[in-house]
Every structure is written in C-alpha cells, then in structure tokens.
C-alpha cells in the first residue's frame, strides 16, 4: 500500500503541476492579428489598427472568410491596443504578426517609441516585417484586395519585391541593432496605396536618421543599386537601362537592355586623410541579359562595350543614390561604424552627424555579362 502511495502521489502532483494550467493560451480565447498599423492623429495621439482573419467555423476545419479591421486610439501604442481590446470580444495577440505598417508622419517622430512594446513583450513576433507607408498606414490595411487576407497580400508583395531587391529585407529585430548604433542607420521598405484603394505598390527604400524617418525615399534603380552597394540585396535585382539615346519619344524598345544581377560582391573601405573621411565602395556585378532586342551578343567587342556602358550607368545611379543619402543624413552603409572600428581616435573628436554630409563616398561599379539566356 505504501509503495503504491509512494509512486502515485508524486505522479499525481507532477501531472497537476506539469500541465501548467496557469499559462495556457487557448486559441478560442484570443484573436490573432496578422497585420497592424500605427498612425499619428492630428492631435498627437496614436491610432492603432489591427486586422485579423475571420475563421469560418464549419466542419472539417476552419476556412478563412475575409478579415476584420479594428482600430483604437491612445497616447501610446500600448494604450491604443487597450482601446482596441475594449471594443472587441477577445484579446488581441501579437504572436503571429507578419506585417507592421507605420504611417509616414509617425515614423518622422520616433520609430523606437512605437516598437518598444514589441521588443518588451516575450510573446510578440519579432520577425514581422516593418514597412513605412506613404500617408496614413491604415489605408494600406483597408485596401479592398482580391485576396481574402490583407496581411498575406502585403506580406507576399513585400517578399517578392525583396527578391527583386527594390526594398530591403528587414524585420522588427533586424533594425534594432542599427537603431541603437551611433555609427549606422537603418532603412525600411516604403509602400504606397494605389488611388483606387485596391492595390499597394512597393516604392523603394525609406531612409532613416537614427530613430527618425528622414522623409527621403530612394526609388527605382537608385533603390536597387543602393541595396547592392549596402550588400543587402535580394536574390535577383533587376534593371532596365536605355543604352542608346534617341531623338523621338516613340516606341523604341531596341534602345533598351534589361538584365538580372546574378552575383554581387561589394567592399567598403573607409579611410581618414587629413581629418577628412573618404569611403570607397567597390561593387562588382555578374549579370545576365534578359532582354536585348539588338541581339549582337555573339560579338566580343559588343559585350565589352555593353559592360563598360552599363558599368558607367550604374555608377551614375550609385552617385545619385549616395547624394540622396547624404542629403538625408542617413548613414546606412555604416561608415561611422567602420570609423569606430578602425579610427577610434578620430571618431571621438568628430561630430558624426554634421561631418557625414562632407564625407566623400565614391562608388565604383564594375559589371560583367556572364549570361544571356538561351539565345545570343
């Protein structure tokens, strides 16, 4: 009898304790939101909107049937979240968040104060993508897309453009290190909602200075070349370049060439000479032609000519992108970090935020055609 007790009492006690009933999270008690937006209202409060999928409860598992959008207002993001909880039957949980959209006005104030609640909560999902919206972020959440879920629409849009390297691949955690670092600034994707309220489009790279959005955005080829120079590019960056100047504005597709970047390698060298910082960025690209109606690629000198021409054009794009970066005072190459690492004495005496504009950042793009599809 005693032996049975000796075994059964611990067994009973541990089953009670191990089930951890205090911390159970039942899916029926919470509502998971997949996308959220934060905006600044005109009276200086924070407007938080969440979208969560509506699950159809029928036999054989739930199917998604559209989504709901709920909004709340408060002095802080947390208070806004509580305001939302007051209006809904269930508690919202951030553990499955995939896309976080910040309105452009709010991002100009201070991004960290918005993200603090995500960093602090052990349950939040730090791998959610952060994007900056042109105008109000909530417009993006309220798009009437063809897809059932706005969150997956936005997520897929971001993902595809990350591969095309128009926008950087960043999440809540990945920007944190740079947000705190005095020697480096971060960048985020920039989205715009179309006029018709049905689609969104990725515009480019939003530039930040410390914790604030500078208001400057790199778009088009400048965004792509910037991400390549930063070593942050996606799998297949694409360019279309006009290689022959024409007099007329008519349809002249043979003046253009399109190519994908297959391999990219960038090196950043930072030197201090006579109290002046010089940064050399060398980028070597291996590309594949994807569109070239003049089809003369069987000629050696034609390839060499094209290599040279395109290298020049991309270097010009890089110069233009860097000019915008310096005007925005956004050190996203981390030149300051290189100074801390290699020239600590110089770093201590310099006011980096003022000096950054005067830094000579010299890009040099070297391009080589390694492929041309299945015809020459």
């Amino acid at each position: 009898m005693i032996r049975i007790l000796k075994i059964s009492i611990p067994a009973l006690v541990t089953t009670l304790l191990l089930s951890a009933c205090w911390d159970q999270h039942l899916l029926k008690d919470v509502k998971l939101f997949m996308a959220a937006s934060f905006d600044l209202t005109p009276d200086g409060k924070i407007l938080d909107e969440l979208t969560s999928p509506i699950i159809n409860k029928d036999q054989g598992g739930g199917t998604v049937k559209g989504h709901t959008v709920t909004s709340g207002i408060g002095n802080t993001p947390r208070e806004a979240r509580w305001d939302i909880d007051r209006k809904t039957d269930k508690i919202f949980e951030a553990s499955k968040l995939r896309v976080l959209i910040i309105g452009d006005e709010l991002a100009r104030k201070d991004l960290y104060s918005v993200l603090d609640l995500f960093y602090r909560d052990p349950k939040s999902s730090l791998s959610a993508k952060v994007v900056i919206a042109e105008g109000m972020a909530k417009d993006l959440l309220r798009l009437k897309t063809e897809e059932e879920k706005i969150s997956s629409y936005l997520f897929d849009l971001l993902e595809s453009q990350e591969i095309a390297s128009l926008i950087p691949e960043e999440n809540i955690q990945s920007i944190c290190a740079e947000m705190f670092d005095p020697g480096e600034d971060f960048v985020l994707p920039y989205l715009r909602a179309a006029e018709d309220g049905k689609t969104a489009s990725a515009e480019g790279v939003a530039l930040f200075n410390e914790r604030k959005f500078t208001g400057r955005v790199l778009t088009g080829d400048e965004a792509v070349i910037f991400l390549l120079l930063d070593g942050n590019a996606g799998k297949s960056p694409k360019f279309t370049k006009k290689i022959v100047e024409s007099e007329t504005d008519n349809f002249m597709p043979q003046n253009f060439v399109s190519f994908n970047v297959k391999k990219a390698k960038e090196t950043l060298e930072v030197k201090v000479k006579r109290q002046r910082v010089i940064a050399n960025i060398n980028l070597s690209l291996k590309i594949e032609i994807t569109y070239y109606p003049r089809n003369q690629l069987y000629k050696k000198q034609e390839i060499a000519k094209l290599n040279k021409k395109l290298s020049e054009m991309l270097t010009n794009d890089a110069v233009a992108a860097i000019k915008v970066l310096q005007e925005a005072n956004s050190d996203s190459f981390g030149i300051g970090r290189m100074l801390i690492a290699h020239y600590p004495d110089y770093w201590k005496q310099v006011d980096w935020k003022k000096e950054y504009v005067n830094v000579a950042i010299i890009p040099h793009v070297e391009l080589e055609i390694i492929g041309h599809g299945i015809i020459e």
Binding site: P10, T14, L17, L18, A20, W22, D23, S95, P122, S125, L126, S127, N171, I172, Q173, S174, C176, A177, E178, M179, F180, D181, P182, E184, G334, R337, M338, I340, A341, H342, P344
Partner: protein, 370 residues
Amino acid sequence: MNRDKEMITYQQFFFLIIQTQLGVGVLSLPYVMHNSVHSDGWISVLLAGLLLQGVLFVYFMLFKRFKSRNILDIAGLLFGKKIGKLITLFYILYFISVGSLILVLYARIVDRWILPHTPNWVICALLVVAGIYLSVDGLKILARFYTLVTPLVILVVLLVSYTLKDANIYYIFPIGQAGIKNIVIGSKDAVLSMLGFEIILLTFPMVSGTNRQKFKAVSFANLFITILYTYLVVVSFIYFSPEEIKILPEPLLYILKSYTFKIIERTDLLFLSIWIFLVFTSFGSYLFLAAKTGSKLFYKIKHRRLVYYFAFIIFGISFLPEFDIQFIDYMSSYIPKTSFIFILFPSFMLIVSFLFKKSEQGCEANDSNS
C-alpha cells in the same frame, strides 16, 4: 557505502564539471560582460579561463599531496577536527546558497519568458523535485546523466550560430578599447560565470584514474567552457550593437527570438527548454554537493535524507524574493562575491601544508603517534 559504486571515470568527470559550470549564468553572460568591459568582454572571458587554470593547478597540487582525500578531509587534517568541522559547515552554507541562487534566478527567467502567470513556487518546486530525483542516488548517476545531456550543448551552439548570418563583426572593434585594467577587472565577473568547478574539490578522490588523467580532464573541461563562453559572448556582441545590449538582460535568448523556422515559430522557447537542462544539472550538482558535505558533519544521517532536507531548505529560501524583490539582487551580488573565498581557500590550505610540511603520510603518522 560500496566504494566502487561511487567511483566515476575521468571521462565522466569532464562532463560532470562542464555540466555543473554551464547553468543559469550563461544566458546573461554577454550582458554581464558588456556591463563591465563593454565590447572587450570576450577578452576577459579568455583571461578568466587562464586564471582558472592557475586555480585548478593549485587544486591539483593539493590533491597530489593528499591522495584520496577531499577538501574537507584535508581541512580536518590540516587544522584539526574542530576547525575542520567549522569549514565543513561553511561549505554547506555556501553550496546551499549557490543552489538557492540558481533556483531563484531560474524562476525569474522562466517567469519572465515563458510562464508569466504560473506562481514562482511551482516553477521552483518542479526543479527541486527533479533535482532531488537526480542527486539522491549518488555521483555515478549524476555523471551518467550529465554525459547523456551534454550533446544538447552542441544544439545550443548550432542555434546560436545560425544568427551569425546577420551579425556585424565591426561591433567588437576596436579591440582593446576598454583598456587593460578594465579587462583584467572584468575577468572577475567572467570567473563568477564559470563557477561550478568547485565540484572538483569534493569529487576529485571519487574519480578513478591517475592524477594526471584527472587533471587532464579538469583542464579540458576548463578549456571547453572558456572557448564556449567566449564564443557565445562574441556572437552576442557582433549581433547586437553595443548600445542595444545594455537593455537586454538575456541576450542569448533575445538573439533567437526573431528567428522563425518552418516548423518552429519561436526558437527562443526551444532554446529555453534546452537551457533548463543545463540549469537542472547545475542545480543537481549543488544539491549533491551540499548533501555530500553535510554527510561529513552529520555522519549519522544518510546521504538520501540529507538531500531531502537540503532541498527543502533551498526551496524555502526561494520564497524570500516573494516577500522582498530586493532580495534577489542581494543574493546575486553577495553570493558570487563570497564564492571567491571558497574557491581560493584551497590555495591557503596548500600554503599551510607547505609551511607545516604536512602531507597525507605525515598527518597519518602524527595521528598514529598521538
């Protein structure tokens, strides 16, 4: 008790040491090191490993002079029975307080990261019950279990290494910015994170093999821990920027929080579950040590009983932070500090044994003469 039953091999000895050393502290090690030495913390860890090797050598010298005796027997021989008992009592108190510190810190991290609503006493009770189960049956079981769970350390390293793809090596440059003085002072904190090697003091005679083999096992354990800690510190330092790490008390957990794999949504939880094993083994070791030391003092009570008693005491101490949250800070600042006395005391004993030319043979001769 049958002596053979208690003996472990020197290979097991290696696992015993590293599992006792790896524990609660490993999660916050980069934070602690950054607090004291900034980005050069990893150099301090290397330095601490070197210093420890010196300490270990002292232990080795001591055990060479007194074969098949543990530290408490030696204390008895050197200082006489009464003082020896007093020293034993202090060692009991020390092991109990380290055990309760482990428990309290463990409960705090679990409470913060996974189970915020579960009462802390439940979290503690589960570890204590498991700890009793582990340490009640003697050293051999302990060593075998530790050997079994050591592969988990590889998993820890792999998980942490995955984050290297987003790291920025320039965060730890310029090397040596904290200055040599700070690096040396900081190695004190690093030594504290390596606590657990005291288990050698009591278990050295319980290991089979020559002294040389045992010392080799000890040195390899030290090398392993030093390299592992340096690696973990460096990875956190190059993943988080220097300003960011200041606000992250558990950098090694935070580092994994943002990574999502196909099947695993929250990698930090997976990491925590592995880490619980590391804590569990350290806790088990200290409970065992307390009971083992206790059996010298209360030789009438069986080891098994002592484990129960001490576990109960440790569990009781873990309630103190419930009354006053400050207590946790007192514990985590004073207990490691006093531990220096306990890890350095053997070197004092070595000096005494040199001065009075006492060694095992000499003492026994004296005993038989008197």
